[in-house]
Amino acid sequence: AQSVTQLDSHVSVSEGTPVLLRCNYSSSYSPSLFWYVQHPNKGLQLLLKYTSAATLVKGINGFEAEFKKSETSFHLTKPSAHMSDAAEYFCVVSDGVQGAQKLVFGQGTRLTINP
């Protein structure tokens, strides 16, 4: 079975400094991995996805993530945080089942940006 562990429930950084949100996954085969963002009182929005092409994936709003198979990690980074990045972030793995392709969500990391 697939699983995802987000290593930090809360991350706090200053505006203009780098962001690192950590995610480890468990999968019995080559997974598809996603990062979603949820701003307060809003639905989830896809930031980026990895589907076995390039290991460094670029997403929206300057975020990127690197797939490292040897470390079973898919950490999300951004060089310089902006106040508008304050939100909850979810690392997600697909279960690869044909058809509806269920997603398995991590517990979420709340990102706070300090002025």
Binding site: S9, S32, F34, Y36, K42, G43, L44, Q45, L46, K49, T51, F90, S94, V97, Q98, G99, A100, Q101, K102, L103, F105, G106, Q107, G108
Partner: protein, 112 residues
């Protein structure tokens, strides 16, 4: 742009009531999903559907049922609401296997 809409943003119901949560998507997606979101637990899959009139149990189906009579509409039903079903409910849809899911804005349900 894909649009997933949910019938209510906020809902308050009493214990024992039958509750219907409606979800509609406008992009002809085959797959539709219902999740609940609780603090510290992330999103948990309740039910999903990969075709009209088809449904599959997710990870936490107990106390819920679903209906998909038309491709664009997927309903979540709480037959007899209980206080432990107080939660944020999110609907999503996707085009097919390997594709990302698009989420609605959510319905915050409170059962008193």
């Amino acid at each position: 742009d894909v649009k997933v809409t949910q019938s209510s943003r906020y809902l308050v119901k009493r214990t024992g009531e039958k509750v219907f949560l409606e979800c509609v998507q406008d992009m002809d997606h085959e797959n539709m999903f219902w999740y609940r979101q609780d603090p510290g637990l992330g999103l948990r899959l309740i039910y999903f559907s990969y075709d009209v009139k088809m449904k599959e149990k997710g990870d936490i189906p107990e106390g819920y049922s679903v209906s998909r009579e038309k491709k664009e509409r997927f309903s979540l039903i709480l037959e007899s609401a209980s206080t432990n079903q107080t939660s944020m409910y999110l609907c999503a849809s996707s085009l097919g296997s390997g594709n990302e899911q698009y989420f609605g804005p959510g319905t915050r349900l409170t059962v008193t």
